[in-house]
């Protein structure tokens, strides 16, 4: 093991040259490349940071806008709810009015229906009463009843407006047609004719007939007038009243 000075010195020189070579062709390019890339990365990071800041500011703006929209939405919702409440209240009031109208209408219909029903019942009752009275009167009919009806007729005759009767009569002969359930006596016929002539102021041409269908009483026809004092006509009138006439 011996130190070779030429090798020793040459190796020193070689190493120094190698230091220069590596520094020139390895360390410097690599460090510059790394630094360049680091600069690029820093540039990208700066850009990214800037974009992030922009995005954050944009986000803040959008959030503010969203908050504003939300506030506006809530306000509109509240106004809408209030409007809906008012409309609902109005509609409920209108509905109450309609219900009241409908109730009153129903009550009127019900009342009318009740009236009609009552009328129907009354008509039926009157019809039944008429049938009953007709049966009863047909059994009670007789000369006595007939005489009583005659007397009543004579009393009622005084209450008739003579002027109206006289006005309705035509000039010339006036016929007096008298129908009775039972034959009238001569006395009653004269009395009746006399009363009628007195009332009309005219001489009457009287004709007397018997009609059993009248049941009781009499029916007097003069001109256009027919004076009814018989049970048949009374019952018919009674029945007619029951039918609403």
């Amino acid at each position: 093991m011996e130190l070779d000075w030429s090798t020793f010195l040459l190796e020193i020189v070689n190493f120094l040259i190698l230091v220069w070579v590596l520094k020139r062709f390895l360390y410097k390019p690599v460090i510059e490349s790394i630094a360049e890339r680091r600069r690029r990365v820093e540039g990208i990071l700066n850009d990214a940071e800037k974009m992030r800041n922009d995005a954050l500011s944009l986000k803040a703006v959008e959030e503010a806008r969203l908050a504003e929209w939300e506030e506006k939405r809530q306000s509109m919702e509240e106004s809408l709810a209030e409007e809906i409440g008012l409309k609902r209240e109005r509609m409920l009031k209108a509905l109450d009015v309609d219900i009241e109208k409908q109730k009153s209408r129903n009550a009127a219909i019900e009342e009318r229906r009740m009236q009609e029903w009552q009328k129907t019942i009354e008509t039926r009752a009157l019809g039944l009463g008429a049938v009953f009275a007709a049966k009863l009167l047909s059994r009670l009919a007789g000369p006595e009843l007939d005489a009583m009806i005659y007397d009543l007729f004579m009393e009622d005759l005084e209450k008739i407006d003579a002027s109206s009767l006289q006005a309705s009569l035509q000039d010339g002969d006036v016929e007096l047609d008298v129908s009775s359930a039972f034959p009238l006596s001569q006395d009653k016929r004269k009395k009746l004719l006399g009363a009628m002539e007195e009332m009309t102021g005219r001489t009457l041409k009287a004709s007397f007939a018997t009609d059993a269908s009248l049941v009781g009483g009499l029916r007097v026809g003069i001109g256009a007038w027919v004076l009814r004092a018989c049970l048949v006509d009374e019952l018919a009138f009674f029945r007619k009243m029951g039918n609403g006439a």
Partner: protein
């Protein structure tokens, strides 16, 4: 072990270690020239590998002496690269590792010795740097001087001894065991080449950082 001269350049004899060193330098220069042409901001595989190697060197230097990687990288990094490649040359058939030559390792050790003082003086100035040899007491001056010499010798002999012994062992095993038997030893050679390059470079880094930091400590 006397160097066997291959040829002479003028009056200067050229040993195989020097020739191998020139070969390494030439190969490295060509490789770096070719690789440097492909450098771009979008690194390829080779550029990434080179950047990884240089970054690892910078990190190692920064770990020992922060803030001085730019100053120390050319010297320490070149030590690592040159010693590693020189060590690995030993496994190439027909070549001998330059670092198996004491003259080469001594040259490297002397360079480390000189660089320690260079960086120390550069850091604080000659007077203040020399003052640390008498600090804390002038009595310690001989010990400092012995330490400087011994560690430089140790650097040279450690690298030379390890690499030379590995090559020798591989040669002996090859002679005794046959063609394929030294393969495990060659694999050990690779590991040893890496370890010795790392140790040499780290020791040089520690010595240089010691010289710089001793001045900084005094300053503080």
């Amino acid at each position: 072990m006397k160097s066997a001269y291959l040829f002479h350049v003028g009056m200067i004899p050229i040993s195989s270690a020097v020739a191998t060193t020139w070969g390494i330098m030439l190969a490295l220069t060509i490789f770096l020239l070719l690789a440097g042409r492909r450098f771009s901001t979008e690194p390829g595989l080779l550029q990434s590998a080179l950047e990884g190697i240089v970054s690892a060197m910078i990190d190692a230097i920064e770990a020992v002496i922060p803030g001085k990687s730019e100053t120390l990288l050319p010297f320490i990094g070149t030590l690592w690269v040159f010693i590693l490649i020189s060590n690995l040359c030993g496994i190439v058939p027909g070549l001998s590792a330059p670092t198996a030559n004491l003259s080469v390792t001594a040259a490297l050790a002397i360079l480390v010795f000189l660089s320690v003082h260079w960086y120390g003086i550069k850091s604080e100035g000659l007077k203040r740097y020399l003052h640390h040899y008498t600090s804390p007491s002038p009595i310690l001056l001989p010990f400092h001087l012995i330490s400087e010499v011994s560690r430089t010798v140790a650097l040279a002999v450690r690298l030379f001894g390890n690499i030379m012994s590995l090559e020798m062992a591989a040669l002996l095993v090859l002679l005794v065991g046959g063609l394929l038997v030294p393969i495990p030893l060659l694999m050990l050679h690779i590991v040893e080449a890496l370890v010795q390059a790392y140790i040499f470079g780290m020791l040089a880094l520690i010595y240089v950082s010691g010289a710089i930091e001793s001045q900084q400590r005094k300053k503080q």
